[in-house]
């Protein structure tokens, strides 16, 4: 009886609750997806959308992928998996090297083509404009930031592809005519004009605040303008030397007549930052007593760093990377790995001497005998301080721990005693007890994660405790624009406009910070000087790649001919100097009891036998391939030249 009653009550409840109308009952708001109205109903929510858009800028190199750093024989890739890709392969694909797969699709380093990102930037601006929850000032500043990101991304695309379709509002498919969504490529000059025009408008909308690094500022807009105008100018001027790298519609290539106007714009934008109107930017000079450490600190010092203009910022526990973990000196490191990027001798020897001259590192004297050095670092003495800030040289320290880089013991009779493992021990002649004959950091040919060229990378390595641990990681930021570039942009533009002494003035500021205090005069500034200064100042910052392209010298530097020692050690100042293979500089300890040179160091120039190919830059490499799949979807896109 009682049971029946309970069942009856239960049934009643079912009826009472089940009587809602179906449409109300079935129409449930999804809990995982925010509608645009909901997403733009809260200012902090909008900020997080904007943060995501910041995060999707395309950088090359990227701190999360170490292989993006050291290409073009500026370094040797000391990891077993990379030898064949980078040192056994003479050509670059038209899309660059293959990166990690994303969502099952292959990615390549030189193909940032992402119109989804552009669409979402456009949508963000449109939705922000109509959002009711934001006040007018916030709205305007968010839209300005998104506009900056869009201009910056179009600039990135232009650097890789030349002209691409410029889409400035979100496109909707009308259901019938797909051709309404197909846009042709803009001219390469129109791309740069767009970026310059946006920057000119944005500099009035963005805050002039040199303490804001991770978000768009007036300084960032002007820095972008100066770089973009300079790239356009040099493509116009030097593109004339490679007439086949152009398209008749102007999608690739800029007429030579436009060069001067672009150089003028580049100089003007750079001087606007130099004048201080965009905020208090200046060269980083906090450690005048140690210029090498001072140079390295530009990249890891995040407090009151007035050199840095715009960065991709990192924060421990939220967004971190393992650059130090994969590149730290291996011996005694926080993790049993590191040492992947080994700067090559090609780069190391191009750092000047303090008297502004170029010379190879003195391994042998005029008679061909070895030069004996008491300390390992002595061979590098009297050079540009940026060397020590860019490269960990033998005998130097990282995180207060000396590196142990030496390839073996050299006997007086010419025999070399070395070992096949790090820190190997052998009995030297005349002794009975085995002792160490090779460094714990290598170099040992073929042993990855050690300094196989005799060098480790210093730039972007994080001196913080724990930065080399997998579980902690590093929060060093990726510098996109910094003040030294503004000075060198101004120097290059001034030089090309015939104002050599102005150019020398700007360049001398950057050089003096590196200890090169003997000033250059206007007459010293040449094309080779400009290219060289950028190569050493911005080594491993990604600029070298774009400089090689815009000066149209890549096909001369990588001409597919093996680099012999004579060529390696001569013409150090020349921009078109061949650099098809990465060389090493190996330190050896001299062992000759009784000789005054016993225990001193000698150096040998060497080419690893892992380097079997000589790099060959094809004319088709100057502009990245637009993938066939993209071309077939939009027949209005024209193909790149020489591909």
């Amino acid at each position: 009886m009682k049971n029946k009653f309970i069942i009856a009550i239960a049934t009643l409840f079912v009826f009472s609750l089940g009587c809602k109308s179906d449409s109300d009952y079935l129409d449930i708001k999804p809990t995982q997806v925010l509608s645009p109205e909901l997403a733009f109903s809260d200012p902090t929510q909008v900020l997080s959308i904007l943060a995501d858009l910041y995060n999707r800028q395309y950088d090359y190199p990227r701190l999360t992928e170490w292989v993006t750093f050291g290409d073009f024989n500026e370094s040797f890739y000391s990891e077993n998996g990379q030898y064949n890709n980078y040192h056994g392969n003479s050509t670059w694909g038209f899309r660059g090297y293959r990166g990690p797969d994303v969502g099952g699709r292959a990615t390549y380093f030189w193909t940032p083509w992402d119109y989804t990102y552009i669409r979402e930037l456009n949508l963000f601006m449109e939705r922000c404009a109509t959002a009711t929850a934001l006040d007018a000032a916030t709205k305007a500043s968010y839209i300005a930031e998104a506009r900056f990101l869009r201009a910056s991304y179009y600039f990135t695309l232009t650097q890789y592809y030349g002209g691409v379709p410029i889409i400035l509002n979100s496109l909707e498919f009308n259901g019938t005519d797909v051709t309404s969504l197909q846009y042709p490529r803009a001219k390469e000059s129109e791309m740069y004009d767009f970026v310059i025009k946006e920057a000119e408008e944005l500099k009035l909308l963005l805050p002039a605040n040199s303490n804001t690094k991770a978000r768009a500022t007036k300084g960032a807009a002007l820095a972008m303008e100066s770089r973009a105008a300079l790239y356009a100018a040099s493509i116009a001027k030097y593109g004339a030397t490679t007439p086949s790298v152009s398209l008749s519609g102007g999608e690739v290539g800029i007429p030579a007549g436009m060069a001067n106007a672009y150089y003028t714009t580049a100089l003007k934008a750079a001087e606007e930052i130099i004048s201080g109107s965009a905020g208090a930017y200046s060269l980083y000079k906090k450690q005048p007593g140690n210029l090498s450490e001072n140079f390295a600190a530009i990249f890891y010092d995040k407090t009151q760093n007035n050199e840095v203009i715009w960065v991709d910022d990192y924060a421990l526990k939220f967004k971190r990377h393992g650059f130090t973990q994969v590149n730290q000196p291996r011996f005694g490191a926080e993790e049993e790995e590191g040492g992947r990027i080994n700067p090559s001798l090609n780069l190391v020897q191009s750092f000047e001497k303090l008297d502004n001259t170029f010379a190879p590192l003195a391994t042998n004297d005029a008679n061909g005998d070895y030069v004996y050095y008491t300390n390992q670092q002595d061979i590098f003495a009297g050079r540009d301080a940026r060397l020590g800030g860019t490269v960990i040289i033998p005998g130097s320290s990282f995180k207060a721990r000396p590196v142990d880089i030496w390839a073996g013991v050299q006997l007086a009779n010419g025999t070399v005693i070395s070992g096949g493992e790090r820190g190997a021990q052998k009995v030297l002649p005349g002794k009975t007890v085995p002792e160490q004959v090779v460094g714990f950091d290598g170099p040992i040919n073929g042993i990855g994660n050690t300094a196989q060229t005799g060098f480790y990378i210093r730039k972007y390595q994080d001196p913080a405790i724990g930065s080399g641990q997998r579980g902690v990681g590093s929060a060093v930021w990726l510098v996109r624009y910094r003040y030294a570039e503004i000075l060198l942009n101004a120097a290059e533009a001034a030089f090309e406009l015939g104002q050599s002494s102005v150019a020398a003035g700007y360049m001398n500021q950057v050089r003096a910070r590196a200890g090169l205090v003997v000033p250059l005069t206007g007459g010293d500034i040449t094309f080779d000087r400009i290219v060289h200064e950028r190569r050493v100042e911005f080594a491993f910052e990604g600029q070298y790649f774009f400089d090689l392209k815009r000066f149209r010298i890549a096909h001369q530097v990588f001409d597919g001919v093996a680099l012999n020692k004579t060529d390696l050690l001569s013409n150090l100042s020349k921009a078109t100097k061949r650099s098809t293979q990465p060389y090493s500089l190996l330190p050896y300890k001299y062992y000759a009891p009784g000789s005054p040179n016993n225990g001193k160091w000698i150096y040998k120039v060497d080419l690893s036998n892992i380097v079997t190919a000589s790099d060959n830059w094809q004319l088709g490499n100057y502009y990245s391939e637009i993938e066939p799949d993209i071309l077939t979807r939009n027949p209005k896109l024209v193909k790149q030249p020489n591909q």
Binding site: S244, L619, R633
Partner: protein, 232 residues
Amino acid sequence: MKIKFHYILFFALSTVILSCKKDNFDAPKAALTGRIVYQGEPLNFEYNKVSYELYQSGFGKTGAIGSIFTPEGAFSHLLFDGLYKMVVPIGQGPFVWKQTGGKPDSIAITLKGNTNMDIEVMPYYMIRTPQLTYSSGSVTGTFKLEQIVKDANAKTIERVTLYISKTRFADSQTNVATTNLAGSAITDLNNVSLSVTVPTLVPTQNYVFASIGVKFSGVDDMIFAPVKKLTF
């Protein structure tokens, strides 16, 4: 056990019966083969360098069938019968490919069964009478160079290179020793000579392959002499 056997029989039968619909297409059968020639004489290239594209219209998307000429300048495809167009993209190959308004001219190909066709092009230079010889530890290459393209498209010789390799691929990507001669250093086009010392081969072998390549200024791809095996 018996029941399990029934199940197996049932599934086997259903597989046979249900999958009997015609769900396969015929494989392409028509072979398109040919070579790149100058006056009937085949040209030699480098492995994986000179590309070409085949197009067939009328089937939706207009993507190319892209491929690369073999070192002997040959191409081959298995295709369906139909109309195709072949182009060599501008800037590819050490030869002149006709173009109109910045776009490469296409060659129409009507494919019906196996087709062999050679394609005539104008190389910038031809390597004539290449002699590759081995004597006492070094390989010597002697040859003549004949300029073919002399109009506005003419190119100058940047360098000539002698490659030796352990395998049949003797080119800039695979070699054990090379020697170069700059184009400006060539005094007599009818008598160009290069020689290179054979390095120690590991593991040892009593033969090497050798070839000569010519690089032109402003052109990526080199023209080669046929690879020759030299036994010693």
